[in-house]
């Protein structure tokens, strides 16, 4: 403290200990634990077929959670994900009905619709500064309204295009295409978050928006872009789900909102923004998928599954998701 000599010492890099993230390790540890418990119940839990099948199911959640993570890193939340998923699925399926061109345009069109929803969210949050929790809720209601009006309140009869089925449902050499897509999306997300100015800006805004603004970062554009990406990824998830199931269905997205948030948060991303690692989100998505699968394989009644699901999320978060105390 008394002298300035210490500043001449070499500046340390981050040690390996800093690089390893407790939540990510814990989440992957829990995945291993679940697999061990499952393999005691039935050895087929460790078979490549089962694992690949789980990864495939997890890929849909993982892609949706990727967008959610971007928004949560900003310290915001996107509650419009359920009907953005449904909209992506329905619009892509609807485009399929328009001949060859429609077949080709199906996936981009579905994603584009989600992008538009995300843009509305982003503009409202960044420029009108409406709390994201309320504006995305309202936009979700509007998206639902649009889809109900479009489909007449029933699940539409349009079916998914061949390309959607190819990506969502089929496999090559046993590897589901959905998993490959998730790996690509995840790789891009990691690159975006760690290597680009956009990623730094996202973390900066999540930590302290005023400081990011005064640093000359175009904070509003970054927020809009993050919400747009979230919408696009949710719709893309919906497109894949429609491909997987063969067609879109009413309220098919409702089952994905809470798991998407849970996957992000279980992976160690702070719900207050500014802190989080994409690998954690990967672990969170796999963990939740496995948990749901194992509970149903073990033939635990639905009520029991719900209770265990809730207790495990609370328990894991108590392990590492706690805020620092004030004293």
């Amino acid at each position: 403290m008394t002298d300035t000599v210490s500043s001449a010492a070499p500046i340390k890099t981050r040690s390996w200990r800093d690089r390893i993230d407790l939540p990510v390790v814990t989440a992957f540890g829990c995945i291993v634990l679940i697999l061990i418990v499952g393999s005691i119940y039935s050895p087929s839990f460790l078979s490549p077929e089962y694992l690949l099948q789980q990864l495939k199911v997890g890929a849909f959640l993982g892609i949706i959670a990727t967008g959610m993570m971007l928004v949560i890193l900003l310290g915001q939340i996107d509650l419009s994900v359920p009907w953005t998923i449904t909209m992506g699925a329905m619009m892509a399926s609807a485009a399929t009905a328009y001949g060859v061109a429609g077949e080709w345009a199906a996936i981009p069109f579905g994603v584009f619709c989600g992008l538009l929803i995300g843009l509305i969210n982003g503009v409202a949050v960044a420029y009108l500064r409406i709390p994201s929790m309320i504006i995305t809720l309202a936009v979700n209601a509007v998206a639902q309204g649009l889809m109900v009006a479009y489909s007449g309140g029933f699940s539409p009869r349009d079916s998914a295009s061949a390309a959607m089925k190819f990506v969502g449902a089929q496999s090559t050499l046993g590897v589901p295409h959905a998993v490959i897509v998730w790996i690509v999306v995840g790789g891009l997300a990691i690159f975006l978050l760690t290597r680009t100015t956009f990623g730094r800006a996202v973390y900066g805004i999540g930590n302290r928006e005023s400081a990011a603004y005064l640093s000359g970062v175009p904070t509003q554009r970054v927020v809009v872009a993050a919400f747009a990406l979230c919408g696009a990824l949710a719709a893309f998830g919906g497109v894949l789900l429609a491909g997987y199931a063969g067609k879109a269905a009413q309220s098919m997205g409702d089952a994905y909102l809470l798991p998407a948030i849970a996957a992000v948060v279980l992976g160690g991303t702070s719900i207050l923004g500014g802190r989080g690692n994409y690998l954690g989100t990967v672990a969170g998505a796999i963990l939740i998928t496995l948990l749901q699968s194992i509970l149903s394989v073990m033939q635990i009644a639905e009520f029991g599954r719900q209770i265990i699901y809730g207790v495990i999320i609370v328990g894991m978060l108590l392990l590492y998701g706690r805020d620092k105390g004030m004293r």
Binding site: P131, A149, S210, D254, I271, R305, Q306, I307, Y309, G321
Partner: protein
């Protein structure tokens, strides 16, 4: 004059919600078929008001529940599930022969009374669990209440996998709570008024009530000032559970049955957030009032009813409702265009 200005500034959100509600409801009444066909008769208006009130009180109670937590700058996404769970519990315990299965029949008066207490205790317990996890477990409220709502739903599902009711359900009590006095004053609104006068206002003016606002406004300042920060936050979640439980109880009065309805829980949770925002409660905490939230809830429901009487195509109603909600929440942001120092935008 000056004093009034301070009062008005403090109550602006509540007064705006009241104005919106009165306007909406007047439009609704004027267009309601029963009124259009038979004119403004006491009976006609009374019936319309009663129906609306008995629907409105459910969301009003849930919105009140949400207000307590939102005032502390938290959020309770489990209000809908506590509501559903308490509905299921009430469908078992609010009966005229409580205890008959164990050999001590409490009879048609004490039975339902004890049953009501039990339901409210369940609500309190759920709230206390949320509060304990958020305050003592130090988890973020969004995530914690998402997780606990899964647990609450599991419990409800365990008790009532199928919608159902008990033949001995205390229908008389339910009927009494839904009746109307003097042909026009609905009992549910009287009940709501009593709740506000006996619970909300004393709480608002108590030390803990003030601490609730203080915590939401600036937690560190409240702590530095020696306010009971943790107790106030914990109590907010407990109140939230209690009012959600009260809502669940009232739902049982309306339907005389219980149902582990996941969709209803989700809708009520989301609508409770919409209602508090319409009611002028700031999601950033520290500002607003449960009275505003009540008017927000009533206004929100009236929008729906209004579309019905105006013969809007049912297929387009969800869209219209969403657009109106979108406009309503955007109106508050108009002041931003008057902000001249951009740093103030980041509050």
């Amino acid at each position: 004059m000056n004093e009034w200005r301070f009062w008005f500034n403090g109550q602006r959100g509540t007064l705006l919600a009241l104005a919106i509600f009165v306007l909406m409801f007047a439009l609704y009444l004027a267009n309601h078929p029963a009124i259009v066909n038979n004119g403004f008769t006491v009976q006609g208006v009374g019936n319309v008001v009663q129906t609306a009130a008995n629907k409105g009180i459910l969301l009003a109670l849930i919105a009140m529940a949400q207000t307590f937590v939102v005032l502390t700058a938290g959020i309770d996404l489990s209000v809908g599930m506590i509501f559903v769970l308490c509905n299921v519990v009430a469908s078992y315990v609010v009966v005229t022969n409580l205890g008959a299965a164990w050999g001590f029949d409490l009879g048609p008066v004490a039975g339902p009374a004890i049953g009501v207490v039990l339901v409210l205790l369940v609500g309190l317990a759920c709230g206390a669990i949320n509060g304990a996890i958020v305050i003592f477990g130090r988890l973020q409220p969004i995530v914690a209440t998402i997780a606990t709502s899964a647990v609450f739903f599991g419990l409800a599902l365990w008790m009532r996998p199928q919608p159902g009711s008990t033949p001995e359900f205390a229908k008389a009590l339910g009927k009494a709570m839904l009746t109307k006095f003097g042909g026009i004053v609905p009992a549910s609104m009287v009940f709501l008024l009593v709740i506000v006068l006996l619970l909300w206002i004393p709480y608002r003016r108590s030390v803990l009530g003030r601490a609730t606002y203080a915590v939401g406004s600036s937690e560190s300042a409240a702590y530095m000032s020696g306010m009971p920060v943790r107790r106030a936050k914990f109590l907010a979640y407990v109140w939230s559970g209690f009012f959600s439980g009260l809502g669940g109880l009232y739902l049982t009065f309306v339907t005389s049955s219980g149902q582990a309805d996941q969709a209803a829980a989700g809708t009520y949770t989301l609508n409770s957030i919409a209602a508090v925002v319409l009611g002028g409660v700031s999601l950033f905490g520290g500002r607003g009032s449960a009275i505003g939230a009540i008017f927000g809830a009533l206004a929100f429901l009236t929008i729906k009813d209004l579309m019905f009487v105006l013969n809007v195509d049912p297929l387009w109603q969800p869209l219209l409702q969403g657009v109106i909600l979108l406009i309503a929440v955007s109106i508050g942001s108009a002041r931003l265009f008057q902000v001249r120092n951009r740093l103030e935008l980041f509050g």
